[in-house]
């Protein structure tokens, strides 16, 4: 049975300079069935070269395990202001995480990527488990992950 974890981020407007328009984006992450504890996930935005830009969502409550989300941890420096208000519970094997975040219009079709780092206790840490370009054309199309993520979809 799939458990839908839904959360809505109300305040997370991404404030890039000169941006006025923002829209709600729904991120749906379905995990594979694996044997192990609940997974920690970091969903974040990078530029085309993979440089960290912005945290969209962090699943997992214990900050001391965040270092296992290695690329995100380096980019965000795990500074609490980066994920303040956009974090929730970790996600179990086979479960689906569905969250809505607000995203500035200018970030879409501008060469940015959405990435997911994932980690499970005593198992491998996955950097860029998912890596997809953020484009209008890619919206609604599931992308496969390579470690714990079965599929990831964003709906604009």
């Amino acid at each position: 049975m799939k458990k839908i974890i839904a959360a809505t981020c109300l305040a997370g407007v991404i404030a890039l300079p000169g941006v006025a328009q923002a829209r709600e984006v729904t991120l749906t992450t379905q995990l594979k069935r694996y044997s192990g504890n609940d997974a920690y996930l970091a969903i974040y935005l990078t530029d085309a070269t993979g440089q960290y830009q912005k945290t969209l969502w962090v699943a997992g409550k214990k900050a001391k395990y965040y270092k296992h989300l290695a690329d995100w941890a380096r980019g965000s420096k795990m500074s609490p202001s980066e994920f303040d208000g956009v974090s929730g519970a970790s996600v179990g094997s086979g479960d689906t995480l569905k969250v809505s975040v607000e995203l500035a219009d200018t970030l879409i079709d501008a060469g940015y990527q959405i990435r997911i780092d994932s980690a499970v206790e005593d198992k491998r840490d996955a950097r860029a488990d998912v890596s997809v370009p953020l484009t209008s054309a890619g919206a609604g199309k599931p992308a496969a992950g390579n470690t714990y993520v079965e599929s990831f979809t964003y709906d604009l």
Partner: protein, 726 residues
């Protein structure tokens, strides 16, 4: 108080503690197994640079190398989108097998630390560790009290199965359990962030790296400088990010490695909190300390045994204890009844007194004498009802009374009355009651009435005492005591072996079978037999275990002895009514110390039982006195058989009705050298027989022991000299 502190948490948390212990014991094997299957390297043999170079040959897409505390090296790789994890040989870098953590271990670990209940479960497991800590501390204190002092902690233990093994397992495991409980509590506290584990302090990411092409991983100086044994984790730079660096975590600290220059950047040594966490984590899990893990696991396995035996003992105490209605508190009661009893029979009288006083409008508080405190604020009178155990000693429920009275004192002028219970057949009739009377007078009490004694549980004498008390109180007091008969079993006589007719000491070895199932007993326990027409049972020492399938006693016929004449007259197949009274103090202690068995006449019964059960062939020396070898050498052929198969080491028999007459005491004196050597080796002495013989044996042994600056009294205090006398 201490006992409550031990048994209440024990009962309350038995299941939880057992669950944690069993799961912990299972997990404790993992580090040893991992160590067995891994390749260990000496310090200086392999550095991280070498390892990374070897790994690069076999795994082009390596993302991360981990080394577990037990030495397993794991490589995580991502080759063209295909992710994998492999255990590798640190000497070649070659893959050994795909790495897949065991599902069973993970399941057990989750059970152990959170009972599958998530965060709340961590709290429950922490509470379990706290219970374990309380049980270990209170249990150790109880054990020390039981053996009277730390110095005696490793002395052999006595008692029935539960009592012995509960304490035996406890003293073996207490240190391990303390370590597991304390470290578990600490880990639980770090989970809830009550204590910082120092792991959150991450070194700052370096701002930029040197310009130029990346060096081969094997040539990076910082990696070459790190020994493999110190490695925890090496995370490779992200292939898509040319500015990225290696993360290096070691046993001592964390930092980054510049892939161009090979230098260590932003290195940060672990703080003391981090080191403390790692140490305690290691002590709890045994990771990297496989032998400690196994030791702790073995200690944890004692917990289920202790839980079960502990609950058994608690249940038995509860069953044996009195059921007192309308018991007021110690502070509010105007009348206090304190009871000293070995077998709980005196409680029957105490209850009758309690009920009568309650009906007369008094507020009554009844308790065991060992619960004596000096806070009976409202008490206008204190009653002591006590039996005497053995040779004028305190019975079990009064063993600490005199000491407690001496330290707590007595309310000045406190009116009191002592009622002693005993059997006039014995020389020290109601001796302990007299001691208590004396001590209360010394402590400044005022006798409400003189010391009275009750012979053989006589209900009439008790009722008479009640009338006398009623006169003192100015009230009509009718004490009705109906003796509570223990539940008896029907046994039938199956076999009789007769001795001693010619020497006027007719003695029969009687073997009974049960009509149903035999009750549980061991050699040295007592069987109470109710002769027809008498409400008072007579007790005989048992010469065998219930496992032997029969109940065997050795009975000498006394002129006018109601029960012995009855038993001697029984026909084969005739039924009797009997019940078992455990006597766990009188049996060989655990361990391989030598045992000296001394007896005369029918005292041979339980001693033969001990020898028969000595299947481990511990040294056992028997000294026994009879009348004439041709007539009353009880168990002669059986004892010779045990000598031959080494269950019995030596047999010294003395006979009093032959030309060179001698008594068992004489045998002890003539064998003094052997006895001294045995005592020096830690031997214990078990004496069974008549009171006069026991006295003679004690005098003889004092003489034997004098050159060692020892005496029987010292051996008794050490629990190495036990008697079953009648």
């Amino acid at each position: 108080m201490l006992r409550q502190l031990h048994s209440l948490p024990g009962l309350f948390a038995a299941l939880l503690v057992m669950l944690l212990a069993i799961s912990g014991a299972i997990l404790s094997v993992d580090p040893a197994l991992e160590r067995l299957n891994g390749t260990s390297t000496a310090v200086g043999q392999v550095n991280v640079g070498q390892l990374a170079g070897r790994v690069a040959d076999h795994f082009p897409g390596v993302e991360q190398i981990q080394r577990t505390a037990s030495g397993t090296v794991i490589v995580y790789f991502n080759q063209a989108g295909q992710v994998g994890a492999e255990k590798v040989d640190p000497l070649t870098g070659q893959g050994l097998a795909p790495y897949e953590p065991s599902t069973f271990s993970r399941w057990t670990k989750d059970l152990h630390r959170s009972l599958f209940l998530g965060t709340a479960g961590h709290g429950v497991a922490g509470a379990g560790a706290l219970f374990m800590l309380m049980l270990a501390v209170s249990g150790a204190l109880l054990l020390v009290r039981r053996v009277s002092g730390w110095r005696n902690l490793w002395r052999p233990l006595r008692g029935d199965f539960s009592q012995r093994w509960h304490a035996e397992a406890g003293r073996l495991a207490v240190l391990g359990l303390l370590l597991s409980a304390l470290s578990g509590l600490y880990m639980c506290a770090t989970t809830f962030d009550f204590i910082a584990d120092g792991s959150q302090i991450e070194p700052a990411l370096p701002d930029r790296i040197s310009a130029g092409p990346a060096l081969p991983v094997a040539s990076l100086k910082a990696l070459q400088a790190t020994d493999l044994n110190d490695l925890r984790e090496l995370v490779y730079p992200s292939p898509s990010n040319p500015q990225d660096v290696f993360s290096l975590r070691t046993a001592r600290g964390d930092g980054y490695v510049d892939p161009v220059s090979g230098t260590l950047l932003s290195y940060q040594a672990h703080g003391s909190m981090h080191n403390l966490y790692e140490l305690i984590y290691q002590l709890h899990t045994g990771e990297g300390l496989w032998w400690l893990g196994l030791l702790l696991g073995a200690c944890a396995l004692c917990v289920p045994l202790m839980s079960v035996t502990g609950i058994q003992m608690w249940w038995r105490r509860r069953q044996a204890g009195p059921d007192i209605r309308h018991n007021s508190t110690a502070q509010t009661a105007d009348s206090v009844i304190l009871v000293g009893t070995e077998t709980n029979t005196t409680w029957g009288f105490a209850c009758a007194l309690h009920d009568a006083l309650h009906q007369a409008g008094h507020r009554v508080h009844s308790a065991a004498m060992n619960q004596y405190t000096n806070d009976y604020i409202s008490a206008q009178r204190v009653f002591i009802l006590t039996a005497t155990h053995g040779d004028g000693n305190a019975p079990a429920s009064a063993s600490q009374f005199l000491a407690r009275l001496a330290s707590a004192g007595l309310k000045p002028g406190q009116p009191f009355a002592v009622l002693g219970f005993g059997d006039r057949q014995f020389a020290q009739f109601c001796q302990f009651a007299h001691q208590v009377q004396e001590a209360l007078l010394q402590a400044g009490g005022t006798p409400l009435m003189g010391l009275e004694t009750i012979n053989r549980q006589s209900s009439q004498e008790f009722a008479r005492w009640g009338h006398a008390l009623g006169e003192v109180l100015g009230q009509d007091l009718t004490l009705v005591h109906t003796p509570r008969q223990p539940q008896t079993h029907q046994l039938v006589l199956a076999q009789r072996i007769a001795y001693g007719e010619q020497v006027e000491a007719p003695t029969h070895v009687l073997r009974f079978k049960a009509t149903g199932k035999l009750p549980d007993f061991e050699a040295g326990d007592l069987v109470g037999i109710l002769p027809p027409g008498s409400p008072v049972p007579r007790f005989y020492s048992l010469a065998c275990d219930s496992r032997d399938g029969v109940l065997e006693i050795c009975v000498r016929k006394h002129k006018g002895g109601m029960c012995s004449e009855y038993l001697h007259g029984l026909h084969i197949g005739a039924p009797i009514e009997a019940f078992i009274q455990p006597n766990p103090q009188f049996r060989p202690a655990s361990g391989a110390h030598p045992v000296i068995l001394i007896g005369a006449g029918t005292g041979i019964g339980p001693l033969t039982g001990f020898i028969r059960n000595n299947k481990a062939h511990h040294p056992m020396h028997l000294y026994w006195g009879g009348r004439n070898p041709t007539s009353d050498f009880l168990y002669e052929s059986e004892l010779n058989h045990y000598l031959a198969d080494h269950r019995l080491t030596a047999l010294h028999a003395a006979f009093s009705q032959v030309s060179d007459r001698s008594y068992v005491q004489d045998r002890l004196i003539s064998d003094a050298q052997v006895l001294r050597r045995l005592i020096e080796k830690g031997a214990q002495v078990l004496v069974c027989g008549g009171r006069e013989m026991a006295k003679g044996v004690m005098l003889a042994l004092d003489e034997v022991l004098a050159p060692l600056h020892l005496n029987v009294r010292t051996l008794k205090a050490q629990g190495r000299y036990r008697e079953d006398v009648y």
